[in-house]
Symmetry: C2
């Protein structure tokens, strides 16, 4: 059932002993939203914990909080569009048990008993901010750090098209409540690990251009992972690089998997549709960011991908 | 004389035939502030032009407006802390002729007849926004684009420590007035020229680490400029890279000048003071971003710089 935010607040006020679940491959928004909400519920005198499918990545450890002991009664999902995104260990237990889902993905599958979805919100954390205000909780600097992290990371630090005037106004309020915005942004956007920096250098060294510079291709091999000491978890930043080159409409990053096949991340500028390109190859995604698996050797995969892209530009 | 913003607005309402001057090596803030103010004065039925010391760099050409013909009566400086920053061709004519200066640098030398300085403003454009509201001008999408560009570029897209809640609130208003924020941010932050991308790759290839990884050094030679087709105007982005590596406290970029000597850009994380390092070598700047000229060959310059840095970390 779809509900409004006031009903979501009433529901939270009535219930207690909350488990808040976040999505797999946790990012700043799911963690910031989940932990921010957890702190707000605790401030109301309730018991609440956040459950992640895997360990919190090192860069987000500053958000981490101590768990509480209690018997779970109420399950809340944050920033999870579908049960398939929960991660296996969480999905096994909670797939059919979510009481309330709070999300900003237009593609949300309404898998919970009660669902609040606002696809105009740049981040789930923007929704949680509004909810916490409705709950009448005084936002602490720690909560503000969580919610600011969610908004900042999901908008590329207020850079993307999902940012609205409301996003900026929430950021202003969170700074007033004590969010250490500049320090968070240094951690999120101005810090590269040595291993990532090396992988990025190797990736740039091999960048190739096709179709009169309208397509840029980066290929990351297992050898590059070995040489840099980096791994697939650090690839996300690299996918954005090739599209940034002037004149490039389609930026592609192919990365070699353990079995020697390749996975492609496709980033486009309008009017080229990344999801259409990837759909042709059995994948999918958003209009400007999509992905697909490619069969065959590096040469075969590259040719298939470039031929497909050629039909779109 | 220091004045308040209301007096600045009254002054502009009384006067006409404005020349607005911007600082040398024009950036998004001086251009966005100057052109935004110019458009606002024209909207009041006044004549106004913006004068730059040099051509507007290609990435900022979307801000450009047509000049008007009139006899200059009033001179306004925007985002200029001192006459030495005007650029020679502007300084020659206007050094002692500025009627009103509008600026956000705490270091402003109060060189004009009337001076309004608000060092809490993240960008001069944040001041111009407040001023235009005081003038009672309805902000058009074109004006909003100018002022958003100023704020976005001077804050690294809301990333830096100069951002305050007021900065976010002004950004929200400018989006409501029609600023095409996402498109501006793609141009400003998500676009690299092919020549810059090549220079960046060459620079990264040569990055070296010293003092247990606490200092990273990038050296850009004339050969790299030749190989990439890039030039000194594109170096600013590279200066930021070395400090982004995890564990690095001092990131240094040395670039070779036409005479074979080197100029150093030093970027630090607290508590290391970049301006103190550069002052020791005859240069200066801000606590986290400073610069200096180095004598001698590449080897001599590198040794001198690293020895000096060694005393600070």
């Amino acid at each position: 059932m779809l509900i409004d935010l006031g009903s979501a607040a009433s529901f939270l006020k009535e219930k207690d002993n909350f488990t808040i679940i976040t999505h797999a491959h946790p990012d700043g928004d799911t963690l910031g939203s989940g932990i921010g909400l957890c702190l707000a519920l605790r401030a109301l005198g309730k018991k609440a914990n956040v459950i992640n499918n895997e360990e919190i990545p090192p860069k987000f450890r500053y958000l981490e909080i101590e768990p509480q002991e209690f018997e779970e009664q109420t399950v809340v999902a944050v920033d999870i569009a579908d049960v398939t995104l929960m991660g296996n260990s969480v999905k096994e237990i909670y797939e059919t048990k979510v009481d309330l889902s709070l999300d900003h993905h237009g593609s949300n599958r309404l898998f919970a008993k009660l669902n609040y979805v606002d696809s105009s919100a740049a981040a789930a954390a923007q929704i949680i901010y509004e909810l916490v205000e409705l709950l009448g909780v005084r936002i602490t600097p720690q909560m503000a750090d969580c919610l600011y992290t969610g908004i900042s990371t999901d908008t590329g630090c207020f850079r993307y098209a999902n940012v609205t005037p409301a996003t900026h106004r929430v950021a202003a309020k969170l700074m007033e409540y004590g969010a250490d915005a500049a320090a968070i942004n240094v951690k999120m956007f101005e810090t590269k690990t040595r291993t990532y920096a090396t992988l990025e250098r190797l990736a740039l060294d091999g960048m190739q251009f096709f179709y009169d510079g309208r397509c840029a291709l980066i290929t990351i091999t297992r050898d590059m992972f070995a040489e840099s000491g980096s791994d697939e978890n650090e690839c996300d930043g690299i996918a954005a690089i090739s599209r940034q080159i002037e004149g490039v409409l389609v930026g592609v990053t192919m990365r070699e998997r353990r079995d020697g096949t390749y996975k492609a991340s496709v980033r486009t500028h309008n009017p080229v549709d990344a999801s259409a390109i990837c759909a042709r190859l059995g994948g999918g995604g958003h209009p400007n960011a999509a992905g697909c698996q490619l069969p065959g050797t590096r040469e075969e995969a590259t040719k298939l991908l470039l031929d497909t892209i050629g039909e779109f530009i």
